[in-house]
Symmetry: D3
Subunit: 331 residues, 6 copies
Amino acid sequence: MSKKITTIGEIMMRLTTPGHERIFQADSYMVNFGGAEANVAISLAQLGMQAAHVTAFPDNDLGEKAISYLRKMNISTTHIYKTSGRMGLYFLENGTMQRASKIIYDRFDSAFAHFKGDDIDWEKVFENVDWFHWTGITPAISQHAADLLLKALKKAQEKGIKISGDINYRRNLWQYGKGPLDIMPELIRYCDLIVADKSDFENCMDIQVSDWADACFQAKKDFPKIKWITKTKRESISASHNKLKGVLWNGNEILQSKTYEITHIVDRIGGGDAFMAGLIYGLLHFDEEKALEFATAASVLKHGIPGDANLVSENEILDLVHEKNVGKLLR
Amino acid sequence: MSKKITTIGEIMMRLTTPGHERIFQADSYMVNFGGAEANVAISLAQLGMQAAHVTAFPDNDLGEKAISYLRKMNISTTHIYKTSGRMGLYFLENGTMQRASKIIYDRFDSAFAHFKGDDIDWEKVFENVDWFHWTGITPAISQHAADLLLKALKKAQEKGIKISGDINYRRNLWQYGKGPLDIMPELIRYCDLIVADKSDFENCMDIQVSDWADACFQAKKDFPKIKWITKTKRESISASHNKLKGVLWNGNEILQSKTYEITHIVDRIGGGDAFMAGLIYGLLHFDEEKALEFATAASVLKHGIPGDANLVSENEILDLVHEKNVGKLLR
Amino acid sequence: MSKKITTIGEIMMRLTTPGHERIFQADSYMVNFGGAEANVAISLAQLGMQAAHVTAFPDNDLGEKAISYLRKMNISTTHIYKTSGRMGLYFLENGTMQRASKIIYDRFDSAFAHFKGDDIDWEKVFENVDWFHWTGITPAISQHAADLLLKALKKAQEKGIKISGDINYRRNLWQYGKGPLDIMPELIRYCDLIVADKSDFENCMDIQVSDWADACFQAKKDFPKIKWITKTKRESISASHNKLKGVLWNGNEILQSKTYEITHIVDRIGGGDAFMAGLIYGLLHFDEEKALEFATAASVLKHGIPGDANLVSENEILDLVHEKNVGKLLR
Amino acid sequence: MSKKITTIGEIMMRLTTPGHERIFQADSYMVNFGGAEANVAISLAQLGMQAAHVTAFPDNDLGEKAISYLRKMNISTTHIYKTSGRMGLYFLENGTMQRASKIIYDRFDSAFAHFKGDDIDWEKVFENVDWFHWTGITPAISQHAADLLLKALKKAQEKGIKISGDINYRRNLWQYGKGPLDIMPELIRYCDLIVADKSDFENCMDIQVSDWADACFQAKKDFPKIKWITKTKRESISASHNKLKGVLWNGNEILQSKTYEITHIVDRIGGGDAFMAGLIYGLLHFDEEKALEFATAASVLKHGIPGDANLVSENEILDLVHEKNVGKLLR
Amino acid sequence: MSKKITTIGEIMMRLTTPGHERIFQADSYMVNFGGAEANVAISLAQLGMQAAHVTAFPDNDLGEKAISYLRKMNISTTHIYKTSGRMGLYFLENGTMQRASKIIYDRFDSAFAHFKGDDIDWEKVFENVDWFHWTGITPAISQHAADLLLKALKKAQEKGIKISGDINYRRNLWQYGKGPLDIMPELIRYCDLIVADKSDFENCMDIQVSDWADACFQAKKDFPKIKWITKTKRESISASHNKLKGVLWNGNEILQSKTYEITHIVDRIGGGDAFMAGLIYGLLHFDEEKALEFATAASVLKHGIPGDANLVSENEILDLVHEKNVGKLLR
Amino acid sequence: MSKKITTIGEIMMRLTTPGHERIFQADSYMVNFGGAEANVAISLAQLGMQAAHVTAFPDNDLGEKAISYLRKMNISTTHIYKTSGRMGLYFLENGTMQRASKIIYDRFDSAFAHFKGDDIDWEKVFENVDWFHWTGITPAISQHAADLLLKALKKAQEKGIKISGDINYRRNLWQYGKGPLDIMPELIRYCDLIVADKSDFENCMDIQVSDWADACFQAKKDFPKIKWITKTKRESISASHNKLKGVLWNGNEILQSKTYEITHIVDRIGGGDAFMAGLIYGLLHFDEEKALEFATAASVLKHGIPGDANLVSENEILDLVHEKNVGKLLR
């Protein structure tokens, strides 16, 4: 039986300008859906895991469309709710060459932001689940969302499920009266694995960072359940050319993956989520070193896939790890 | 020197599914912009009049895009403001055959809804203006919008400008605590011309309607400045086939236009605004009977133009009025 | 708890020329999936029923794509198998005006044609199922397919499930050495409801038809389990304009639905399957007369939806039955 | 051995707005090629005849593209010349509903207008040719073109080839100093068959027309080689709905075809050329009455095909003549 | 109050093949508009300057479309004229990899080439203008165009406006009987700033060039008003990969910008015009060194924008100058 | 008179996902046609040679479409046959970045596989032919195809025509009961030139390869007619970035071309066929060294052209050989 992942979080409709057009130029948009947590679930479903996502959508045709997207991607929609409120949106202009990519969020007052989830049967949500993943975006959206997440974390811990959190500090969110330090530490306490870089440590964990390794050791002291801390190191030569490697602190030392040159980038949105999914898969199936290489290679491949989600198989990722069939023609 | 129209109101980004696809099916959207009042201004600009529109857009690339749309359509953007708030949106699934068209509005909390317009120099807005047009959508959006409109109406009246109002009662709006009868009668009092049918009379003017002509005479009593009341009569055989005629009460009698068979409909959104623009143009340039025929023919032609706006010339409309070149091939 | 339908049959990838282009002209194709039985299941899923489909796809990315289509459409894929063999295809040129539509089938040697289904747990397939639907296309494909279907029918009958069969005689199939009269009568014996017209009666049931009602009574004698026989009557004024009504013989008399004018046809493929789905839904939820009107209205709406499947809700169909909102603009 | 047609004339690149967009709206164009005479040749090639066309294109990639179009359409390009000068263009906005279609020609100074054809081996051009077709557009373009055509006509007559001319008077052409009456009568003298209506008789043959039949008899007197005179009668209810019939005067009487309702028109450009091709094919293979019905049915089907050329087979046309398979689904 | 630029020159409709298709392959074209001078005006309008352009278009829907393009781009169209003549066109095949880009011009006999501009009120054209920009393409088109430009230069100088000229020698133009040395020296005499490289110096200024700096000093002697001479140095590794730097001679010394690697080029047309606009903006707002860096960075960004015009903001350019946010994801 | 090439082999319809989409994502396909041998013929037709191809297509609209493709590409279709059987297909997902390209073949039971070619007049096929080219794909398809090819080779040799064979071993073919060593050696015996690398030598010529040069000398011994053996050396940094050089053994020594960096790859399918065509052209017109450089440059340019066929001119290839105009803008 394959392993099972559950995620929770908002999913937005993504409206992308075609080709290399700017928002100012575009007379049509491509429709996709994305959310940091669901992106992870979809990647893992592609890798053969069972995957479920908990969220709320507006009770209209846009909500139906979003649900059908999840079904298409093989995500269980048993715990998707249809409520009042609007569909969160984001408009994306993919950068190219030296020009940066640009996102305009339009997500306030979404169905998810107003979702209390009183009817959720958490016992059922976490039945047979092996791993639960959340991100710092959810508690930044609304008090309801923060409360919902806390309930989920408690139940997940109670059932002995592995928990990962992508801290993902976003200055533009957190508009409902609470700050990240009011909320995040309590949530992070449940995590076995977190994604955190300087800004996350400082804003969400109250850890000042001069050296990332030191910060990791400090985090372990403050949040003793944490077993792994991870991040990617991305160098942006241009929007079409990045360098990427993965880094994993395992309580003792820092592991580093190969560094990849990623040129001719198609779509970098979701690259971090692809890394996260790869790492979860790796930690469930491989040793730490291989897990990290797997995660990084997964993230690299994501940059060539249009949309938020990483639609690649285990074999395709392993081929890249082993430098096999790279860019070849497979008949 | 050509005549000058000024309009005020929200403009939304319209996201339309391609071809005959349902929202559930669409993986891309066509981008347009529309708003009942701006649609009128654009039609009149196409007819050769000077046209200006007063509104607010969010201060981001979507707002810039919207402004560039108005400029392209030859609308003066001198009195367009960029403020905080979001871009109002609507999602459109064009009906076909017996299937109805469907709109999902996503317009709450828009830049326009929050716009106070304190900086507007109304003297300048109405300089050399011949006609001012508004609709009942604006005061239904927010108290700010209702206040803004009232200021505009006062100044327009003060300057002796002709005023038309499309009552356009929408049950789903009016969510800010006031009802239409709290607000609309005061605004209607400024009008020379209104568009009103049964639901408008009853909900916005407190006139019960068993007979439309009687209601018109009653309206004249209650709102003595009104000179004309108009409406279109549309029969919907299917989403692809309508019948349409225009009706104009001129204080004495009811004029009726020819009835048109409109088959193979491309896009009916804005058909009413095209009628309104045609009527304003007609009343400024022709006698009442010709004005009404002109307005109805204008509306008919709109049904063949993709987008909200009626992009036809005076000659094209007059040709249809005179049954000349109908559907021919012009070399 | 909503009712549950199960269907069995081949699903082909449909490659449609864009717009009104001929196959000779087309430099791209739109991708859809369709199969007479799955089309019924999808229609019923849209109407809120639980739906499952049994089939086999090739074990490659095209098969994965097909499965994801079914998931998107809310069809349970628990009993979808991935085997060797190719994806059945059909190329479609949608007719327009007086020009007929044209299909080139390319379905021989498909995964489904070679599928034996030895691993199917029929008990599980039919768990909690209320209705089982099949068509005469399946036994025409291969001996394996005919055998598979017979097994399914036996189990369905054993479990007291209602059974419908769309006889659907296709001269171009039946190439594996057996003729329809060798195979079909045994299968028809299990049916409560069949779709049959002259050609079906004669070729698959050995009943000569001068009068359809007489043929129905004869069918009842030969296949005593049959309770209903149905068909649609379509008049083709052009590819863009048909007339359609539904007919239902209920053992006693012939019921007839309203006749619809269907103009501006978008896509007539699947119109019969939409009727069938509507009738199944209707017989499960309404009386016979309403069921027939519901089925016919469902089929009418299908003609406006691109693709094989009828993506309309119960309310939309009932509105058409009641001549409400026909072709209107719903905000 | 199939019959052989040769035609002569300019071919323009056609730039069509997508969907129902106006030129003012279009941000892309569809590329086609068309010319009244080549359209006839292509129709006849589709019907199985050998077909060749004589013309000149600019010696650049646009010319290459045009030649490849003719090859694709199975037209012999042995007598296509590449010269200096530009590619003639026309911009097309397809009408819809009551709105007329609109063409902007941009054809002056084309390679064809400057083409003298001194190197043409006319003996070879007309080897084994059964029918030669020209139109009044060619002599209206330039003196060179008129001279070229005269040479062709002389050689064709010398070799006993049947000759047809579509008079096709266009007021906007004829800008090189000669008028139609200076040029056309000499050319018409070679024709067995002409297409002519009132405007053609008056402007190109100096025959005043009160009654078409009378004009035909007068034409026979003035141009004794003429055996048939033909035209179509088109009634334009709208750009999407025409009525059409064909008329043929055979020296004695006027034959008339069935009248067709053509609704849901896709592209009417080339409808007359399709009629002409059908008539040539008909007169070569059938009796006069059947030829006329064949020609009219061919023209009807053209209205459903995007582009200038009629891409239908003999069987498809005969089916329509016999009211067989009209608008059906052919598997 | 922002600074004001005025430009003069022809604007052509640009027809670009989609994707990487060759002209031979393309069955559709993307529509844009471009002209070296208007491209400069549009860039400067995007940077927040007031911008106006003087030109003539054909009096048809193509002309209207071109005007609407300028309005959309925020260019004042007060001095746009509609005359007889055709729309100048150019067909573009964007190169990729080692394959060069290819332009087929089709611009002879355009409305602009025949435009005399007798009605232009030059006083009004240059009211409040800070900078006037022209290119050597205009006087190469026709005697009328050369005369028009001379009038403009005289008035601009009279009003103390800064003047720049992009010499831009094109061998294929200059077909009206005059050579560049007959015309250009008189025009260059009015310039404060010119763009000139070897071919320009030699063909338009009669200055033989072995060393560019020497040529600049010689130019200063011959044309004493010149204050700056500029050019870009482009190295073409492939159509997808160029190196670019800007060079500015300021009367004393040669300044050089950073050299940029430009990979993954989307559209290099207008790269020089973007540089020119950046330099004008820079010289009006910054010191010479910063102006040059600004100009070069502006040109780099243009290579990532489809179409002729550089649609980037001052901030985006400054970010690149300061190596900030290069290719990042801006939320 | 230009030289003439004849090729033989299957042509498949190629269905390519748009942009960088995976097959799992694609909802439309681009339609092309390709076959290793026909690709060579088309390249050579573009270079100005006469070219003909021998094959069979299904007798339906897909076959007609395929034939029209060949005509468009200027390939003589005199020896194309229409038979029963299906159109061979292949589905292509173009790789990007590190992700490999992927082909799903669907070519079994094609018209070509069943084609016996009994009616072919081989004397006529090889009239005036200078070069005959085949590949190892043909004899791998079916016994009929192997027999057909053998007949062709005998006649070609009899007439003294130069013969080239691209060994092109494909493990997935060869399913009709014979292995490559049963068939290939007899066919290779006729060749003057072969393309062969390690896998080809070993599987089709029974030559074990430790060193390619040694294998060439051995091949010469076993197949004494062979004069040249060639291959390309491709290094795949990623799907978007390859390095390529050509290698030619001429009986004495190994010639090597320049090595090209190919970045920003658009479509690598047919790169080998473009090399082959370039080499044939080169050996017919240049010396061996120039021929090899020409072939390699031709292959490089193919990587920038969408579709299977290399649509470049002799001049464009020579420019690249001479490093002239590389990636420039040609006006």
